[in-house]
Amino acid sequence: MIFLQLFLTFFKIGLFGFGGGYAMLSLIQDEVVVKHLWMSSSQFTDIVAISQMTPGPIGINAATYVGYTAVVNSGMSPAWGVAGSLLATGSQLLPSFILMFVISKFLMKYREHPSVKAVFSVLRPLIIGLLASAALLLMNKENFGSPRESLIPFIYSVVTFVFAFFAINKWKMNPIYVLVICGAAGGLFYGFFPT
């Protein structure tokens, strides 16, 4: 039953999603692409791109889109897809409500306590590992092509990656513009070099 699985999956993602939206993407990717096979890696990558380019928190955008896509991919109608998106987003928010009601006062009081500090001293570096593994998982054949099958698109993908990397991290360009530029360039490139 996909709706029950969506609820359990996104509740878990909301409960263990430390470190903000990008870190949560690694949880979503693992559950949705690797474990449940609800969508392909390239479909998930497209969802991440759209979630970044549209208003609102990336974690909420991604949950909404993934919920919709998972249900529609299973063969149900878009109307059920809408139900899936609401369920995924709601389930992901539920732990936040529960935690804020129950532990916000506790956290406020004990956030300087050595035990809380010790837990976060481990979690903070750990989240960097999570982000790195999410990025590694996206660097696959589906997203980059393969040098054996067709070399030129593969080289083009690597060039795109390097450009985006420097544009976002070194030149501090707005990531949305970078994605738009890469999309327009890709439209032109693959329009002229159909593969």
Binding site: K12, G14, F16, G17, A23, D30, S42, D46, A49, I50, S51, Q52, T54, P55, G56, P57, I60, N61, T64, Y65, Y68, G81, V82, S85, T89, Q92, L93, S96, F97, L99, M100, I103, S104, L107, M108, R111, S115, V116, A118, V122, R124, P125, I128, A132, S133, A135, N143, T160, A164, F165, I168, N169, N174, P175, L179, C182, G183, A184, G186, G187
Partner: protein
């Protein structure tokens, strides 16, 4: 003097509708997620409506950042709860996530019709390698703020190996990190007590 003495200015009366509309506007107009929202929430909730003092605002922000889940949603829930209890948190959270849900669903339903369209496929083929670079961005920013040293650098490396090589779910890796942090606390406490 004029701008900072907000204590003696009477706050705008609270209403669920006003809370909902305020967070709806914030959710609708901020592209890029949580961090971008902070100054906008501050301007509205602290400076314009005077619902919170700056100290209360900062306290709630810290709690929302340390809790799991989407930061912007946690923050909205925490602010709403502080202002008007559970109903207040629901009004603020709905306001924050509703723009995301509406926009993403509109795109998902629209995109559905362009599935298999050559131009759209080409554009997204161009974007996909850039998404991997996008996810890598916060790694470098966070590495500085997480205080990674030669003593802690093994934590993200082990996390990557566990997730990417052994295929262990990030959820378990986070759970292990929390357990590890608690162990660290008890070990340090014992050491401190023995001295």
């Amino acid at each position: 003097m004029l701008t900072d003495s907000h204590e003696d200015i009477a706050p705008v009366p609270f209403s669920y509708w006003k809370a909902f509309v305020t967070f709806f506007k914030i959710g609708f107009f901020t592209i890029g997620g949580g961090a971008v929202m902070i100054p906008i929430i501050e301007r509205d909730v602290v400076d314009r409506l005077h619902w919170l003092t700056r100290e209360e605002f900062l306290d709630l922000m810290v709690v929302s950042q340390s809790a799991p889940g989407v930061f912007a949603a946690n923050f909205a829930i925490a602010i709403g709860y502080k202002l008007a209890g559970k109903k207040g948190s629901l009004a603020c959270a709905l306001g924050t996530v509703l723009p995301s849900i509406l926009i993403i669903l509109a795109i998902a339903l629209f995109f559905q019709q362009f599935r298999g369209n050559r131009v759209v496929e080409n554009v997204f083929r161009g974007i996909r390698p850039a998404v991997a670079a996008l996810i890598m961005g916060p790694i470098f920013k966070l590495s500085k703020s997480a205080g990674i040293t030669w003593k802690t650098v093994w934590i993200p490396i082990v996390a990557v190996l566990l997730i990417s090589l052994l295929g262990i779910s990030p959820v378990w890796v986070i759970a292990a990190g929390i357990a590890g942090g608690i162990c660290r606390y008890f070990v340090e406490k014992k050491k401190g007590g023995a001295e």
